[in-house]
Amino acid sequence: MNWLYIHLPHLYGETWLADFHSSQPMALTRAQGQQIDAINPAARTCGVDIDMSLSTAFCLCPQLRASVLDARRQRRALQRAAAIAARHCAWVAEDPPCGIYLEIASMAKLLGRALQAQSTLQQVFQQRGYSAVIAAAPNPKAARLLARAGRSQCCDQRQFERCLGDIPVTALGIDAKTELRLAKLGLASVEDLARLPHGDLSYRVDTGLALYVDRISGRQTWLPPPFQAPEQFRWQLDLEQDFDSLEPLRFFLAKGIGEFCHFLQQRCLAAQALQLTLLHRRRPPTNVDVRLAAIDNRPESWQYMLSNTVNRLQLEAPIIAMQLRASVFEALDRQERQLFKSVSQESGEKKSQLLNRLGARLGMGRIHFLQISTDPRPEYQTVYASQAAVQKHRPPAGRNTPLWLAPQPLPTDIDQYTISRGPLRLNTGWWDRNGAHRDYYIASHTTLSTQWVFRQPSGLWYIHGWFA
């Protein structure tokens, strides 16, 4: 067996920051931390280093741009890199935060020997803008040690044992306390460690370290758990002629939906969104999002939603092919296995059914729930959201506001009003361009309609709401 390890030292920066390799010094810090976790080469030339505190780094390099490393994006970056590697190798394993194991012995026919495989993958990752250190060794942990020590080598067992003498113990990535203990014992290289008997090392220094060294030297086998690429659904239909309307294609779309639901049901999954792409001959493709109110995997719900979405669609050009794609799935609830449904479950189902029906005909953008934001300006306080609020809102205390608000404040003539209450001064919104400097009054129009009017410092009066 032969293993390859790909170490991507700048994985996060190269995936998420477009100008990571520019001359602008950049540093990434851990969430809520002041310590630097990763830097780009420009920052390194300024003298900034990993594990340095952020304030020191700013002293050394005032133009440094610091951003926070998001753990979820880091995982996604690694997943992307692993998906790239998985196109070349059957057994790929992730090693968070920035490494990938590849088993290459069984892929020898496809990839060639270790050296060839190494150069192929080096090229693949380089083309995608990653700077990778790739090493090959007889076992996974050995390959990892080489790559993390910065040695792009391909070794068999004997060569590996020989080069262990040059690798310092700091390359193992163990904690500082153990490192200090090793230094006190006079152990400087990994070779020194590997020579010691397992029992002694375990007794005198650390059991975990002894096990680690055994895995590196191959005295104990360890295999990484294989990586599973995220599921994707993709269905495409190439048409034999150009179609001006989707009407004759409904049957085929239904077939695509059938396949999609079959795909979901086989895996015990459900989805909420599906993308329909219509390809044109001389235009960029049209993308249509089909969304349900709740996750579902039944063909009838998807069929209803898709056919109504298609009804509202106006084609700009004839189509030559259709695609259905989905990549976000959720596991079905466990409660679904019960024979009888509870009352809340049944009403939840009725609600999502209603949302689906309304959304299918009117479009999801025309259905809203209400939420209250903390913005003091009345026009921004009510939020028309696509989801209901999770917690019950407490009404803003001590305010007397109308039930109806005008979409835009309407200019009005104050002569027609009798003011009954006020003023209430609102002087806010300095943080954006829509600052509000208003005195609000409750006033009754000559027609006896009670309205909420305000006066601006300029002396102009506006209607802002109706006490309906």
Binding site: K350, L403, W404, L405, Y441
Partner: protein
């Protein structure tokens, strides 16, 4: 002729029911005059009002606050203005249960009202149709009765595109008229099991939260100063 009127549902027949299910309106004076002492819980209530801001929503607020305690939605179809969630919450309505649907065309508004009534997920449906024929109101009335959901149709005197005197088979029809800025006259034009009553005067709950409680004189000074 008589049969025609029966078929259109324009004549109430005594043998139908004793007391229809009703929802408390929160106004004792109004309850007294309504059959079952409240809003029809399984029918269409038409509310005709001359202009925004006469108290057309305040009339429903006590009932809506009560309904929002159920884990079901109160569906607002095509409200003519933007809703203020803060004011609704202050009136005791749980705004998590409010669903606002804003269709563009009248047919879609009527369809959405009907869907809401039939869904089994709504505790009440409030609609502002641009126009609704007698047949369409009858459909809503049947849906509301079958699913036991109250439905409130608002007809603005200027925005509604049909004569408001038009007869429709609703369960209750009211005409609102403002008396003063916080008094409202409710005229029952039609109700089941009863005759149209004389206008009832109601005092509306407009909570006083302003810093200067009732500074009419001061405000008037301010007012003239502004000019």
């Amino acid at each position: 002729m008589l049969e025609k009127l029966f078929n259109r549902g324009q004549i109430w027949q005594r043998h139908h029911s004793s007391h229809p299910p009703a929802l408390d309106t929160g106004f004792a004076a109004l309850n007294q005059h309504l059959p079952g002492a409240g809003w029809p819980a399984d029918g269409v209530t038409e509310i005709l009002y001359p202009r925004h801001g006469v108290g057309e929503l305040s009339l429903l607020l006590p009932c809506l606050a009560e309904l929002s305690r159920k884990a079901m939605w109160i569906i607002w179809v095509a409200p003519p203005l933007r809703l203020n969630a803060g004011a609704l919450a202050a009136a005791g309505v749980d705004i998590r249960q409010i669903l606002v649907v804003s269709p563009r065309q009248n047919t879609e508004i009527l369809w959405a009202i009907e869907e809401g009534l039939k869904s089994g997920a709504a505790s009440a449906v409030l609609g502002w149709p641009q126009q609704a024929s007698a047949t369409q109101v009858r459909r809503m009335q049947i849906c509301a009765a079958q699913n036991q959901v109250p439905c409130f149709l608002f007809k603005h005197q200027l925005l509604f595109k049909q004569p408001q005197s038009q007869q429709t088979p609703c369960a209750l029809r009211l005409q609102l008229a403002p008396l003063t800025s916080d008094m409202l006259a409710v005229d029952i034009l039609k109700q089941r099991q009863g005759w149209p009553a004389a206008p009832i005067a109601l005092r509306l709950q407009r909570s006083a939260g302003f810093r200067y409680p009732h500074g009419a004189a001061a405000a008037r000074g301010e007012n003239t100063g502004a000019r």
